[in-house]
Each structure stands twice: as structure tokens, then as C-alpha cells.
């Protein structure tokens, strides 16, 4: 399935349903789902993958009945009611329609993705009608961009046995913790790299201790840190290591230690703190 393909000439508003006039803060087309931004006192295209506000939470949602070529144009918005979208829209009778990822678009629920906020727009009725009754749930089940914080751990070239040590990471407010490692060229002929994950409850890591295997998630079926380790033969490879959501500590630090290394080895690592308790997450630079 795909987004409803709305032909403007076929659209007809529901005179009995509530509708209002407003101003836009961007160009938009008739038939697009829109939300009201109180700060800008204007309407724009709603989106299931942007902000809570753009998904309709704590604001008004509507369906644009007219197009706006630019910002600050006036438009008419249907707030609820039976809107005729026309034959070309291929509205499915009984199909529940939701806000889509492409701004302003309306998709059937079968197209909903794990990355989308759940905003229900209405139900399809006969004769190309959408029974428009929007509801913004504010639920973003697992949007990787909106509910995950990506933390820089380390990235660089080592020519001796100096360990790569990540910053101390604070997992408070996140259910999922996964470290992602990647190697580039490893020039040495017998170097090995061991991986150590430590955790603690003190922000300065004064109580740091090695994480028991049972509190980590392995990328394979062996010991987690062993599965994430690599050696001279592992040029251009990837590894990952998880910290269980049920594991008890708040702070984490990952260390990769070379041994017998006498040549250049390129290594990079980041951590995904996912399934945030509060969305959307603001991503800092590091």
C-alpha cells in the first residue's frame, strides 16, 4: 500500500464538520494532514517522524482543504467530518488511516513503521470518503532517530598497545544499550584486541567493576566480550556488544586493549542508548 494519492479537484469538504481558516508557515497542498504550531500561530504539514508537536500531540490536527503556495498564505482546514477525497485516492472502505512519515501524507495502518508516531487520522468510507477524526497518541514505539541517543565512544588509529577507552556513559532513561565497533586496516601481523565493559553507580566511576557475562548481550552465542573482540585478521569488520536492560548499573565504559601491536590499526566505536523513556531525544554532537 502507499499514501493516499489525493487529487485536489476531486476533494470536497464536509460542511457539517468543524472547519476553520488559518495561516500557513510553509507551502502545502490540499488533502495533506496539517498541525497547528502555536508558537508560529500557523499551520504546517504534520509528520509521524518529526516532533511530538508535528505528530499532533498537544495541538490541533486537521486536513487542508485548500493549497498554499508559500508560508503566510491563508488556508481552510477541516478539523473533523466526512471529507470526500475522490475516486483517485482509492480510499479503502473500513481501512484505518494514519499519519505517515512523509510530511502531510496519509497512509493505511498496514504501512505503519516502527519508526512512526501513532497518529490516527480516520477511517475510510464508501465513495472516496475519509471519516476524518484525528487522534494523536504521542506514542513513538521505537523510532531509532527519535528515541535513541548516539554516543561517541572512540575513533582513531593506534600504533602501539595504548587502549581505546570510551567516555563514561550514563544510561539513565534508556532501556537499550548497545556498543558498535568497527575496524579499518589492521597492519600488525599478530595483534589482538580484547574488549572490556565495566559498569558502576558512581558518576566518577569510582566503583567501576567488570560487567558479568550474564548482564551483557552477545552478538553471537559465546562470551559477550570474547565475541566482540578482534585481532590482526579482522580488517574492515564490525562487532557489537549489548548491556541488558535488566542489568543494574547506571554508568558504563568500554575499553578495547591491543596486545602485541606495533603497527597502525584503525578502530571506531559508538554506543546507542535506545528506547528512551522520553521522546523525542535531542541528539548532541558527541
Amino acid at each position: 500500500m502507499a499514501a493516499l494519492n489525493i487529487t485536489i479537484a476531486e476533494m470536497r469538504r464536509d460542511d457539517d464538520g468543524p472547519h476553520e481558516l488559518g495561516r500557513t508557515f510553509e507551502a502545502l497542498n490540499a488533502g495533506q494532514a496539517v498541525y497547528y504550531d502555536a508558537d508560529r500561530r500557523a499551520w504546517g504539514k504534520a509528520s509521524a517522524v518529526s516532533t511530538l508537536l508535528a505528530s499532533g500531540v498537544d495541538t490541533k490536527l486537521g486536513l487542508a482543504l485548500s493549497s498554499a503556495l508559500q508560508a503566510n498564505a491563508s488556508i481552510e482546514i477541516q478539523r473533523e467530518g466526512n471529507v470526500v477525497l475522490g475516486a483517485s485516492a482509492n480510499v479503502g472502505v473500513g481501512t484505518i488511516y494514519i499519519l505517515g512519515a512523509v510530511a502531510g501524507s496519509i497512509y493505511p495502518t498496514s504501512d505503519v513503521k516502527i519508526t512512526h508516531g501513532r497518529t490516527i487520522l480516520g477511517v475510510g468510507a464508501p465513495a472516496g470518503v475519509l471519516r476524518f477524526s484525528p487522534y494523536a497518541s504521542g506514542i513513538f514505539p521505537a523510532s531509532v532517530l527519535n528515541d535513541s541517543l548516539y554516543k561517541w565512544c572512540f575513533a582513531g588509529q593506534v600504533t602501539d598497545n595504548t587502549p581505546f577507552v570510551s567516555p563514561i556513559l550514563d544510561r539513565l532513561g534508556y532501556e537499550e544499550v548497545t556498543f558498535f565497533l568497527m575496524t579499518g586496516t589492521i597492519a600488525d601481523a599478530d595483534v589482538t584486541f580484547t574488549v572490556l565493559l565495566e559498569h558502576g553507580d558512581a558518576a566518577n566511576f569510582s566503583d567501576a567493576a567488570a560487567v558479568p557475562d550474564g548482564e551483557m548481550v552477545s552478538q553471537a552465542s559465546g562470551a559477550p566480550e570474547t565475541d566482540a573482540a578482534f585481532n590482526f585478521g579482522d580488517d574492515n569488520e564490525v562487532r557489537k556488544l549489548g548491556y541488558k536492560s535488566t542489568a543494574p548499573k547506571r554508568y558504563l565504559r568500554l575499553t578495547v586493549t591491543p596486545a602485541a601491536n606495533a603497527a597502525a590499526a584503525d578502530v571506531a566505536c559508538f554506543c546507542v542508548l535506545g528506547a528512551a523513556a522520553s521522546v523525542p531525544v535531542t541528539q548532541p554532537a558527541a
Binding site: 502507499a2 517522524v49 518529526s50 516532533t51 512519515a101 512523509v102 510530511a103 513503521k113 516502527i114 519508526t115 521505537a142 531509532v144 532517530l145 527519535n146 548516539y150 554516543k151 561517541w152 572512540f154 575513533a155 582513531g156 588509529q157 532501556e175 537499550e176 544499550v177 548497545t178 558498535f180 568497527m182 575496524t183 579499518g184 586496516t185 548481550v217 552477545s218 552478538q219 553471537a220 579482522d234 580488517d235 574492515n236 569488520e237 564490525v238 562487532r239 557489537k240 556488544l241 549489548g242 541488558k244 536492560s245 535488566t246 584503525d266 578502530v267 571506531a268 566505536c269 559508538f270 546507542v272 535506545g274 528506547a275 523525542p280 541528539q283 554532537a285 558527541a286
Partner: protein, 147 residues
């Protein structure tokens, strides 16, 4: 409970490396078929140059040898609300030890993507790496491959 280790596949995009000039660095092509989401993650190390910029471009590969086309902003999710996705993922000489992320929403019929990082004004050592994360597989847990 969500578990990134068992449900996310990590693929090398641009393996960690030092670049010293303005030659664009092109990632591997990722095939997102059978995956619900795709995120490109860029990790930087030390960037020695004092005025270099690094521009990010995401493209989709067309079937049947049709070449590659830029992915429209509407099919990308920005890491920063209100900033164009590829602009938010780009970086400069001041972005040492940073991380960037950008999500690609499925482009109908075009499941294969590549990312290009194009340096400008770069004459120093810049350490970069880029990874693909493929998430929410349609079938069971993920078997992690070495590359």
C-alpha cells in the same frame, strides 16, 4: 524490552580510516530489503585541518542499472529538528570526536542506498568511519556477520 544487539545488524559503510585530501569517500551499498529501518551513523576522530568541511550525500540505487539518484529530504529523518537531514549529518574541522546519524525511510522500489562524504579544503589528517544499522528484521533475530 528492546535489544539492539539481537535485532540490529551492523554493516561496515566506510571503514575507519584517515583521509588527507578532498577525494570523496563512498560507502558500501546497503540493501534494506526485509528491514524496517536503516540508519547511517558517522563517527569522527581527530580532524587536523583548520577549515575543512565534510558534506554528506545519500543516494538510492535504481534497479536495472539505472544509476543512482539522490534521496529526497522527505525520505530522510534529520537528527536535528528543523535542519535538513544531510545538513545535520554533515560536519566540519571543528567536529572532532563526534557522532552523526541519519535515517532513511523506505523509498518505494529502491531498497539499496549509499552514502558519500565529500571533504572540501582538507589538507590534514581526518579520521572518519561510517556504519549502517539495519533494524527490526522481518524474520526473527539477527545473525551478526563479521562485515
Amino acid at each position: 524490552m528492546r535489544d539492539g544487539c539481537k535485532t540490529v545488524l551492523e554493516q561496515a559503510g566506510i571503514t575507519p580510516r584517515i583521509i588527507t585530501n578532498n577525494t570523496p569517500v563512498v560507502s558500501t551499498v546497503v540493501d534494506s530489503a526485509a528491514w524496517e529501518w536503516v540508519v547511517a551513523v558517522i563517527v569522527t576522530g581527530a580532524i587536523a585541518d583548520s577549515d575543512a568541511t565534510f558534506t554528506v550525500l545519500l543516494e538510492a540505487q535504481q534497479d536495472g542499472g539505472g544509476g543512482i539518484i539522490p534521496i529526497p529530504d522527505a525520505n530522510l529523518v534529520s537528527q536535528t529538528d528543523g535542519v535538513a537531514p544531510e545538513v545535520a549529518a554533515s560536519f566540519t574541522f571543528a567536529s572532532d570526536n563526534n557522532v552523526r546519524k541519519i535515517e532513511i525511510l523506505p523509498v518505494t522500489g529502491l531498497p539499496e542506498y549509499q552514502l558519500t562524504i565529500t571533504p572540501a579544503n582538507n589538507i590534514g589528517n581526518a579520521f572518519i568511519a561510517m556504519m549502517w544499522l539495519l533494524g527490526a528484521p522481518m524474520h526473527g533475530s539477527v545473525t551478526q556477520l563479521p562485515a
